[in-house]
């Protein structure tokens, strides 16, 4: 490397680093170092005060025989069964809004509205509304659907499904917004050509909308995958606290519970490491499938 190139490199690097310094310092202390620290803590026993005690792989051995961990992991994987609805639901709604039916602007606004609500508000609201003597069951009774009244969040058979539907509802608006941005870029003449060829609505969606918005569908799928593992805590905390029994325990809620209620901070960190691996594996698998599908 010549002297000149080196000087130029240094002359751009120093001011760049000075401009980056505040952001990098905050990220280092409050984000990057904690990730390494979580790895370290997963090999320790720690009750939240005092010094963590090194116990090697004991936490990971304990995970294997912990029924609550397996219940939580199973629930997380059950949530993934809702992925088709979570991914395609917003696309369907965006397609309808994009087709320009009267009132489209109003409906776009209304569909997006829940996305600005805090998970705490969503959770507290549905927790009250779905109680047995609450408004939803009362409404069912008033319209004569008495038989459908249920302990929505208090019955182990319906609790997880109810939670998943609420999660999908709460993120629907963002999905619709992202798909609308993608649909705005699709060449309208493609639909006109298909119309002339006599294609019906379903055929047009399958042969034009799906392929044309493919990248966005993949993007939204990855977002949903990551969120289903990492952002459910505030919903579970307010909707069901993991209950009844362990029927709505999900991994990120279990980490909080094991640490701040169970006092097992080291054990909770080990579950955190496993969660990181699971999220990485699931996303890696999804990206690999997308790439294969494209070839």
């Amino acid at each position: 490397m010549s002297q000149n190139v080196t000087t130029r490199f240094v002359r751009t690097l120093i001011p760049a680093l000075l401009f980056l310094l505040p952001a990098l310092a905050i990220l280092a202390v409050f984000r990057i170092v904690p990730i390494g620290e979580a790895f370290h803590l997963s090999f320790t026993r720690w009750n939240g005060v005092g010094e963590p005690e090194w116990i090697g792989l004991d936490n990971f051995a304990r995970v294997l025989s912990d029924p609550v961990f397996w219940a939580a992991l199973r629930n997380n994987l059950l949530v993934l069964l809702s992925l088709p609805l979570w991914v395609i639901g917003p696309l369907l709604i965006a397609t309808i809004i994009h087709s320009g039916l009267p009132g489209a602007r109003f409906f776009r606004l209304m569909v997006f509205l829940p996305a600005v609500l805090s998970p705490v508000v969503v959770g507290a609201y549905y927790n009250v509304v779905l109680r047995y003597n609450g408004p939803f069951n009362t409404l069912l009774k008033q319209v004569g659907l008495d038989g459908l009244r249920m302990q929505w969040l208090n019955d182990p058979n319906t609790a997880l499904v109810t939670v998943v539907l609420i999660l999908i509802w709460a993120t629907l608006g963002i999905g619709v917004l992202i798909y609308l941005a993608a649909l705005a870029q699709v060449d309208p003449s493609l639909y006109d050509a298909a119309e002339i060829d006599g294609a019906n609505w379903v055929l047009k969606q399958v042969h034009i909308t799906l392929p044309e918005t493919r990248r966005t569908i993949e993007f939204w799928t990855v977002i949903v995958l990551i969120s289903s593992f990492t952002t459910v805590f505030p919903f579970i905390y307010t909707l069901s606290r993991g209950g009844p029994g362990y029927s709505t325990y999900l991994l990120d809620y279990y980490i909080y519970d094991a640490a701040f209620f169970g006092g097992s901070f080291g054990y909770a960190s080990a579950i955190g490491m496993i969660l990181l691996l699971v999220v990485g594996a699931v996303c890696g698998l999804a990206l690999w499938l997308f790439r294969r599908g494209r070839q």
């Binding site: 401009f19 952001a23 984000r31 600005v116 508000v121 409404l139 941005a181 996303c283």
Partner: protein
Amino acid sequence: MSATTTRKLVRWTPSWLLLGLLTLLSLAPFAFVTLTAFKTAKNYAKDPIGLPNPPTLEFLERALTTGNMLTYLGNSLLVVGCAVLLLALTASMAGYALAVIRFRGSALMLLGIVCLLAVPAAVVMIPLYRTVGQLGLMNSHLGLILTYTALQLPFSIYLMTSFLNGLPPEIIEAGRIDGAGHLQTFRHIILPLSAPALATMSTLNFLWLFNELLFGLLLMQDDAKRTLPVGLASLQGQHTTPVPLLAAGLLLSLIPVLFVFLVAQRELARGLTVGAVK
């Protein structure tokens, strides 16, 4: 009515039904908490969906006084406001370094920062709880402000960098000709040009942080320091809380969010779709 109009109306009916149902579901929380906040406990138990009869201000008053909602709201606005400002400053500086100055390895650094987005909050919460304790920042606004800033920095830096990368280089060069230093270029050219991106970014950061529960719950255990979501969750967690009191708390917490929604929808839409297309 002509035959074609009728046919169109018929064709749109299923779509209207679906979107109408979603509209009802979206408006229901607002209607429910507004009606319920004005009910007496007895009134709610007897009729959870009807109009308040007789209407009362009892629970709204209680939410504001003994429910501490105003204190929580003040804490939230203070912490989130400071974090949003700190984010605007640090992320635009970082964006300037990564998009305008550029250096060998700047693309790699941006990639590394973006990867932090995929790390679950649940993974870092335990070490963070420890770090904040060790720094003596437990129960302090500053601790939560810095935690929140770190939480939103990856997204904010990504947004600023892609915005600045999209600016025509001539605009930036034109300002540089008179030999201005980096600090002047940043202050007098980049910051004014970034106003729309900063508005979008700050709107999203405000909403996300104002709605955040987990870190607030961990780092603010002193009741007087709690943020609004933490206060609401604790109110909701007590089984003795009357539903109208909870509804009053929820109603008060919806006002700032609704305000942002009505004023800044366009910013929200722009920010949320960054990177989504292609």
